[in-house]
Symmetry: C2
Subunit: 450 residues, 2 copies
Amino acid sequence: MVASPKALLDELKRLFGPRVLLARPEKAVYRYDAILVGEEPLAVVLPETREEVQALVRLSRNFGVPLVPRGAGSGLSGGSVPLEEAIAVAFTRMTRLEVDPRTQTAWAEPGVTTARISEAARPFGLFYPPDPASYRTSTLGGNLGENAGGPLCFKYGVTGDYLLELEWVDAFGEVHRLDRKAYDLPGLLVGSEGTLGLITGARVRLLPFPKHRATLMALFPQVEALAEAVSRAIALGAVPARLEFLDASCVDAVEDYLHMGLPRGHALLLAETDGDDPELVQEELALLEETALALGGKVRRARDEGEAEALWRARRAVSPALGRIRPKRVNEDIAVPRSALPQVVREIEALGKAFGLVVVQFGHIGDGNLHPNILFDPRRESEEKVWELAHEIVRVALRHGGVLSGEHGIGFMKRKFMGEAVDPETLGALEAVKEALDPWGLLNPGKVLP
Amino acid sequence: MVASPKALLDELKRLFGPRVLLARPEKAVYRYDAILVGEEPLAVVLPETREEVQALVRLSRNFGVPLVPRGAGSGLSGGSVPLEEAIAVAFTRMTRLEVDPRTQTAWAEPGVTTARISEAARPFGLFYPPDPASYRTSTLGGNLGENAGGPLCFKYGVTGDYLLELEWVDAFGEVHRLDRKAYDLPGLLVGSEGTLGLITGARVRLLPFPKHRATLMALFPQVEALAEAVSRAIALGAVPARLEFLDASCVDAVEDYLHMGLPRGHALLLAETDGDDPELVQEELALLEETALALGGKVRRARDEGEAEALWRARRAVSPALGRIRPKRVNEDIAVPRSALPQVVREIEALGKAFGLVVVQFGHIGDGNLHPNILFDPRRESEEKVWELAHEIVRVALRHGGVLSGEHGIGFMKRKFMGEAVDPETLGALEAVKEALDPWGLLNPGKVLP
């Protein structure tokens, strides 16, 4: 309980005027990310400058009230959800963006949406590769906080791989701007979900836009054959830009929704190659086609961009298709060695049956990043059981040499598992870093660390 | 002064037997890296396992004697040079290496030489891209400690970009093994020169070996035209694998040494493109050729691998060629925005003249990483003046928006400049991290931080 909430709120109003939200319906929106619900914040503040962020940190310390930073709230691990009485700091008004084609970089404030970076870079023949599914709404600050990935990350890497320089406000209210030399504090802040500092700007690397793309879809009666086809093609030198996998339940759901003529009970692979040379792009896809055919896959190869778009509809239809089965879902995010993937998919299928809950699985198979989704109806099915199953799914990943989070971050959802994934001594080292950079524990408490 | 050096040495002998070096001539070797000379260590220890590294950390703490980790000693910033009475920990016996072609990764102990990783990966069609000039002798541990780059880093990135998982022993003697999720402590240790922990193993990412390469050399009467040609070609979409620059003094030195027929007073560009498609590789090189010709460059294009090798001899001959001018040199390492490069080269040239010292310049022009070398004869020229000039060179870089270190690390050589390159608040944050992870200050004291 804050000692003098009125004094705090008065000070916020004085500093931020209409950019502090205090009405309950307005504040309620900031309890959520795309999966979890937390506590209603004391206030929501929409800063516009780094000096305002500094002022917020000083207020937070003076009043002992935590800050919970957030972007668009499209996160999937509860990283931006308030867990106690706190000020929600929404960075959506900090949207300055400058593309520098000479250095092939962009300087962006944290509220810039991911898609906008590529849009601003396009006139210069450049793009920003990290592409989380929510890239039209998600913000760079949130992407950095969670070190977000996306379908392109097998070939192109994740958000942190594109960070050249970071500006942030620390727990002491100081502004830092640092490249990645000496101690890589910018890299340390990537994936730290606002628990070590509040990001106010970033210089990111852009890449020349590939001139050509090609797509195929392959359907397999068994997940094993699909995973093996991917592994063989990669071993032969293919570096597809996107490699998406849908399990049979997921394919059936998509077919019920779209009526694309997909065979029932089959696992589906969507692959895209890209590059500047059209022949090479086709050759790389041919490698995937040959290995898929050799392993009993049925292949559809897109002849042009239009056909490619039609095939990719299957992937994009996953969310609405699943929404027709049950109104709610928990979207898990694990990563396992690709060779373990068929076994992991089977075990998670069996767990779903044992729990009596609908589980579908899809993900970025190139790097073994799997999203098992538990579909449920909160009016008829126990949410507690859903979370129990979600935890069992994480344990399957850890048992097979996998990791807690592929690309959604640890947040609140996975923090309990840090104790199972990381040994106590290493957790101690993580805590020492948190203690050094946020001695009062006011930056996004209750996230990342157990 | 250590309280009881005899007790410490006895304990070291008991634990490490013949793998502790105590004779003065043996120890003297460990005072050096490739540039600087430090203090003679109390003892040199050659651990073979991570448990032995843990034992060393415990001894260090019990006796209050610092540890100075080192690989091959080929560093260029004094990172591995002892600055006080210390135990030198040479990781050259920890050389276990396992390539896993299925995951396209390698697990390597810190003493594995950089070149050996690519050699072990080659039978699987893979390679390890970071290629510091010393890659035949330098070790992975040293490369990680300095976040080493190399000619390929413009296209392929630096050492840290290839780190997937790190094992290290911390100041408390605990072993950690962590991937790059949650708080990225592995990333924090990259470039920290052993000041935050001692690396005992790393999983690195491998890439499929490009099937084709092409090379050209271009000579320009002015550095400006050379830099502009590079910038234009990159803006047009060329992503050369290697882009090396030699200034006119450097070219003259090479010509005196090799008699290749290089025109005097010209700046030289060497460019290599690579990829799986031979036509695309040639097209990318053609982009460079056209822009070079348009800007008054004289171009020699290699018709085959043999001719390419002959052209690359010019670059590889730099070190011996410079050795004939003066017996010693200080190899600076700055990075500036590519657009500032011509001006920076001119200012450094002028500084050399003002100091009456021979300065030659070369580097990786793609990312503006410049190596101004001050050549001197310690019998005739003042070493103090040499270092004064080296410092002025760093100031030129900082004035032009550049950074302290391109790829050699901060080490001992650049630490004084951290105070000019980084503001006091940010230095405070770096110190807090050091204090949290090495509270007794026994891990490579006197490096990185001022």
